[in-house]
Symmetry: C2
């Protein structure tokens, strides 16, 4: 049976819990809500909502899986390879496999974005 996660306002959803993003990696002030993923038994992809608090940043990552990102609130900087892009509401970012990437929250409010990943196990790679 299909699942509806009702939006509760303020970027919060019914039936979705808030987590700090996985410990053990170097990042700052990153929170995540898994909107669609293992809990929904989704076999092909996961859809998460991330918030990075003002001044925070995600880890400098490089891995075999790709990301689809849609910015929903705040102001951000996205590192893609060796280039940096400013992003805000509605901007769409595609991060292909093996591309070095990092997101920073540079505004006064949290940087909030949707992020799609394939469901298969992510394998991290060393960033050179």
């Amino acid at each position: 049976m299909g699942i509806v996660h009702r939006y509760k306002d303020q970027f919060d959803w019914e039936g979705v819990s808030l987590s700090r993003y996985p410990p053990g990696k170097e990042m700052r002030d990153v929170n995540v809500r898994w909107l669609i993923g293992p809990a929904e038994k989704a076999p092909n992809f996961a859809l998460r909502y991330f918030e990075i608090e003002p001044g925070g940043w995600s880890s400098l990552d490089k891995h075999a899986h790709d990301h689809g990102v849609v910015i929903l609130r705040g102001q951000g900087q996205v590192l893609l390879g060796e280039e940096t892009f400013k992003v805000a509401f509605g901007d769409v970012v595609y991060i292909p496999p093996h591309e070095v990437h990092q997101l920073k929250s540079v505004g006064d409010e949290p940087l909030g974005f949707l992020c799609v990943i394939p469901a298969k196990d992510p394998v991290e790679e060393q960033v050179e």
Copy 2:
């Protein structure tokens, strides 16, 4: 190299074209923008932005691939199996494989939503 599709306001993006959704199926007033997909050489998933004009509806579908949906504008009704849900901004819908589904636009403005699918070839099934 990563790709940024800059948001142009009014649910339009740089480097993304607008299409009527595939002909040959019974639906009404459905438009789509492929934000991430074959054009971005995305191997694992596609992310599309759909708009259904007021009074319009998507085809009654049933297929092996699943959908992740996030409503961005307008008012909708989603059929999931035999149940119907009202949806609006921020609501998240997971449509698992083989679930009968259909979306209708029931407000005064277009129903706009993001829709994730796996990249592998979709195979349609007969809706009984």
